[in-house]
Symmetry: C2
Subunit: 296 residues, 2 copies
């Protein structure tokens, strides 16, 4: 077995770009340095900000919380109990383990307490509804509890497959919007993706190296999204063109201004039901969960 580039230990991982073998210890250092560099490069976070990290039980959010804690940021955890049989119980258990290990506060919001329903009850496109629901609830909780910023675990693989999908469909409006830092706006908190430039595979290896608790349980409602195909295709392309994901993302960041089409008439307002910042009269969360009916 090949040895670590920097010491005599056996390698834990083979990096592709730069091409080198690293032992577990040096890989952890390398990984944390890369995250640090991303944070500096995009001015993502400050040490005096109150940071809410969204954790689902999966590796990405958990690794995000872990590395931020190690880097000395002021974090607390946020989890939504979606009420999905088995899956939600396992997820909650895992999130609790993480909070214990990190010794940071964990806030859990039950979807049922707010909407009277769970993801089991909802009809229609569950994945899309779930996404809207999570974004809304984590923003609302962070806003009402004095947090400065929300951190999510979205990684390089997520970003490139979303961007490719928006290109294949020529969703120009969305194509301007992929960014590592989304500034605060009205009642929308600042949102940060600390793994914007980091490959999913590295996050998994980091989580394993550090013994971070996480679950690989999958929601049984998860749709076979076409973005899963794009992810697999990027991994296929990586075999011939190592680093193509990162280069594609860098090229995107340099060129995304091309897709900026201003809509001067557009203005955010307050949702008539919940009062949060909204694009329309009633925000998508209140629409999806039909909360306006209760008000009548």
């Amino acid at each position: 077995m090949a040895k670590c580039k920097f010491c005599d230990k056996e390698n834990y991982i083979k990096l592709k770009s730069p091409n080198m073998y690293l032992c577990k210890e040096y890989f952890v250092e390398y990984f944390e340095n890369r995250v640090k560099k991303s944070i500096e490069k995009y001015k993502m976070l400050n040490k005096d900000e109150k940071i809410l990290v969204a954790v689902s039980g999966g590796k990405d959010g958990h690794a995000a919380a872990w590395v931020l804690k190690k880097l000395g940021y002021n974090i607390e955890l946020f989890h939504i109990n979606l009420g999905i049989k088995d899956f939600s119980e396992i997820s909650l258990e895992t999130v609790k383990k993480l909070a214990e290990k990190l010794e940071v506060p964990l806030h859990v919001v039950n979807l049922k307490d707010i909407t009277g329903k769970t993801m089991e009850d909802v009809r229609g496109k569950k994945c899309s509804i779930c996404g809207t629901t999570k974004r809304y609830l984590m923003n609302k909780f962070g806003y009402e509890n004095g947090f400065d910023v929300i951190v999510t675990g979205h990684n390089l693989d997520d970003e490139v497959s979303f961007i490719l999908n928006n290109i294949l469909n020529w969703n120009i409006r969305y194509l301007a919007k992929h960014e590592p830092v989304l500034p605060a706006h009205d009642k929308f908190l600042k949102k940060v993706k600390i793994f914007f430039e980091i490959e999913e595979e590295l996050i998994l290896k980091y989580a394993e190296a550090e013994g971070i608790p996480f679950t690989t349980a999958k929601c049984r409602f998860a749709e076979k999204a076409i973005t899963l195909k794009h992810r697999a295709y990027f991994n296929e392309l990586e075999k011939e063109r190592p680093n193509i994901k990162y280069q594609f993302l860098s090229g995107y960041m340099k060129n995304r201004h091309l897709f900026k089409v201003e809509d001067e008439n557009f203005q955010f307002r307050e949702c008539e039901v919940c009062g949060m910042t909204s694009a329309g009269r009633i925000c998508s969360f209140c629409r999806v969960w039909k909360l306006y009916k209760k008000k009548k």
Copy 2:
């Protein structure tokens, strides 16, 4: 077996979009109508133009010549003998058969007569050199022999995989340039891709239905281009999203203005060696074949 949508015959092909079975006769009619519509939509060709069709021996150029002749256009064929062992002989044989069947003039240019070398002799990236060589020679021949336009067999699959590749590499300059009709400029003749919107699979079925002579022989120098992967990936995506290739191309045509970055200082000039229109002091053909050396 399913029957043709329009008659009692057995189906020859199942189209995906619109979803229907067609017998051989109705498919040929359908195919020729689609080409006719492309020609009208993009104002590609006129009946009084003198058209030079580039034929390599493969199905695409041959089907292009075939359908144009059937639609009543004034065509002649142009072929380059690249001097590649076996491959060039088979190609030339097939092209001659096509010319006989169509009863149209065939012009053959031997690379060796012009450069003193063949594609066997050349070093470096053969595929790229071959592409430059073909584009140059067909344009030069057309220009010197009074043709109005050059038609090539590039199809929908070629276009979408080129576009995707240019996006993945963020070649913005190239991204503005994919078009079905490239207008004439100085000594560059007008170039037309009549199959710009037509799937490769349909062209193959058309060539087979019509008994068009063509060879499937592959050049032994052909590089495993990454665009081949993109082609396969689009076919993979088509299974889940029928017509995605066509829709992607349509979206591209609507949005390609986003990539138009004007370079006001750029101007074409005449190649100092051959006198043809060129981007630089010496055109890429004369550079690749080192023709300037002979002049000294």
